[in-house]
Symmetry: C2
Subunit: 408 residues, 2 copies
């Protein structure tokens, strides 16, 4: 038996970054662009704001007419009316003021706004108990973004705040990276579609297909299900080649048999150059993970065990989909800190990913390791996330503060 060459997880992430590129770009309406990545910078095609605006509720005035005003000696203005939102602003006359709301357009000629709380009304007159400098409480036309200024750089992921900014600029369509299409194939002679009502002896349902499809969609892919491969190499190769043609990324969820694993590795070698990059990863669980570059497209071979398959996909499948979508490697994965409930031993030499359940009491979060015999489905849903015992450590001690990465 050939010894498996294992790669450490950091190197796998590096290989993903080196071997694969963001997909081509396309134009998308703003409603369709959320969660995707801007492929070209967006510039303000007019100054923002488009007019001088008040930043407070108050009275718009000529600043110089307020000079010297104070608690004991108010400046007095003639009330000239209210600035109506969305209407072209009127002209301010000497000695007058207009009531203005936050965001309202400054009357022509006015250069400052006195906040409401420093004023009082007296018949048709407004008293101001504080002086204002020119420009005070005003945001000038083009002060936020000058005409032609870069509003968002290429490579920026578009979330709510970016969509809001683009909408303000009237950027109704933007250039974004194409959404990756992820092909998904399962293998293993013991597998039947999960819809199968009654199982014949020795058969189990393909539970990885719906779980991995959900994760793929969560990470931004459109998922194409290819079904279950019969345990024969020509079938593996042909079906994989066919689905890879229609996809940007192919995932082969492995069967338990040695044959199925060998077929997967051989298929990855034959689908395109340079072929296999990784033939095992130094993590537990997840060691029998395969990664290939087949003519520029990533192909990921996952262990068949549900817990391993989901963990490996959320590490490397997510990284591949981020890369294809034009996203940066995740800088701050969602995690919580917790206190370990017991000692944990781990063999040195490979990183161990330990599933834990979180419990919160008196403001403290405790991480309780979840154990279960290999293949126990009932323990699959008991954990909230996992912690990592690094390859160089032989375990962690009770009471230690640990970082728990949450399942997605």
């Amino acid at each position: 038996m050939k010894l498996m060459q294992v790669t450490d997880p950091e190197t796998v992430l590096k290989l993903i970054a080196e071997h694969f590129q963001p997909l081509s770009t396309e134009t998308a309406a703003l409603e369709e662009a959320g969660g995707r990545v801007l492929a070209e910078p967006v510039y303000a095609d007019a100054g923002i704001p488009g007019f001088d605006r008040s930043t407070v509720d108050g009275y718009a005035v000529f600043a110089r007419e307020s000079f010297g005003a104070g608690e004991s000696l108010p400046a007095v203005f003639e009330y000239a009316g209210e600035i109506l939102m969305g209407r072209p602003p009127p002209r301010l006359k000497k000695g007058c003021c207009f009531l203005i709301h936050t965001g309202g357009a400054l009357p022509e000629g006015a250069d400052a706004v006195i906040m409401l709380e420093y004023t009082a009304t007296l018949g048709s007159q407004v008293q101001a108990f504080r002086q204002v400098a020119p420009g005070e409480n005003v945001i000038h036309k083009g002060e936020d973004l000058r005409r032609g200024e870069e509003a968002l750089p290429a490579g920026r992921p578009l979330h709510a705040r970016e969509l809001g900014l683009l909408a303000s600029l009237g950027a109704a369509e933007v250039a974004v990276y194409r959404r990756p299409v992820m092909g998904l194939l399962s293998s293993g002679d013991e597998l039947l579609p999960y819809q199968t009502a009654v199982l014949p002896p020795g058969r189990i349902r393909d539970s990885n297909a719906p779980a991995l499809a959900y994760l793929g969609q969560k990470y931004g892919a459109e998922v194409r299900q290819g079904g279950i491969l019969a345990d024969s190499f020509p079938v593996f190769l042909e079906k994989s080649r066919e689905l890879l043609k229609q996809s940007d990324f192919l995932v082969l969820s492995g069967g338990s048999s040695v044959g199925s694993r060998d077929f997967t590795a051989r298929t990855m070698q034959e689908l395109g150059r340079p072929g296999l990059l990784v033939e095992g990863v130094s993590i537990k669980p997840g060691k029998p993970t395969l990664l290939a570059n087949c003519g520029g497209k990533p192909v990921l071979g996952l262990p068949g065990h549900p817990i391993s398959a989901q963990l490996v996909f959320s590490l490397f499948g997510a990284a591949i989909l981020r890369r294809l979508s034009g996203k940066k490697a995740r800088p701050f994965p969602p995690s919580v800190r917790a206190v370990l409930s017991r000692n944990l031993a781990s063999p040195a030499g490979q990183a161990e990913y330990v599933r834990v359940k979180l419990e919160q009491a008196a403001g403290e979060v405790t991480a309780l390791p979840v154990f279960g015999r290999s293949g126990m489905l009932s323990t699959l849903t008991a954990a909230d996330g996992f912690l990592i015992i690094p390859a160089g450590k032989e375990g962690l001690v009770e009471g230690k503060e640990v970082e728990v990465y949450l399942w997605e």
Copy 2:
């Protein structure tokens, strides 16, 4: 001017939990159930696993025939063949063994598996250098889940691991809570649809509509856009009533004018009983937030300022959508710990939400407060998240470890 009654944010969350209920339930195919919440428990309709399985790669034997075996005195078995995945298992004869893979069906009569690493092959014979107890390395039929046992409880959100478990059980359709429909209306005479190419004087684009729609979808809603309301009370009331009929939850994104805010509050009072629950929240930004229960349906009034609107929606809009979808209040919001880069002052009496940018260097994450004049769009996208200065505190000091909640 009437003083605004403000409610603290924790009380707002309590009101949401008390006043609103999960929506009705429906049956969904597993492919459509991801991210939703199970409305009824799911039971295993057959034992899992459906047959005795090996948990390792090794040789299936009669355990008693291995008794006494050790390093110096191996037990010897006649090799009877390989257990093929997915085929009905053969019968084990006395003195024989079958090669079996992880997950393979135990041959009839066999009661243990000797791991591959404790064996050697010698012609047609297999030597075992370790004894095994009955049941060792075997998971028995029904050991994981007994027939009729609860596999998942009602109320469980369905993520990858739950979908995998349901697929294993052959639960191709499940009862889930209905997806909320969120109606979205903007108000303010200064607003024009964001697709408007050139703005007339005094007008701005409605940037909240696409940003809030994205957040609503992210929190699991189907979003129905109602457009921009003209600043007239009868229009407010009629359009809101119409959209609320088609929705489970109505969001009114407010204009800046006092009139538009008053119309929103009056509309919320007239749409249904008991009406307004909250007419201001003690957070900054976000004070002019309104919440109503209109005949059992939640109606949320957001401040018009983009930063406030998005922050308030990600606090209370998210909580409402979680409640309607049958989800529990968020136990562990995604956050990172960071070190504050400078002193931050804050008036006591209201919680202040300060936007921060995160920077990572030498393994330490620093939180840098983002400042900007009110209404500056260009600062909208500069922050990675926010930290909270509690109502009882007058600020935070430089170097303090803070919890930064990430934007979604």
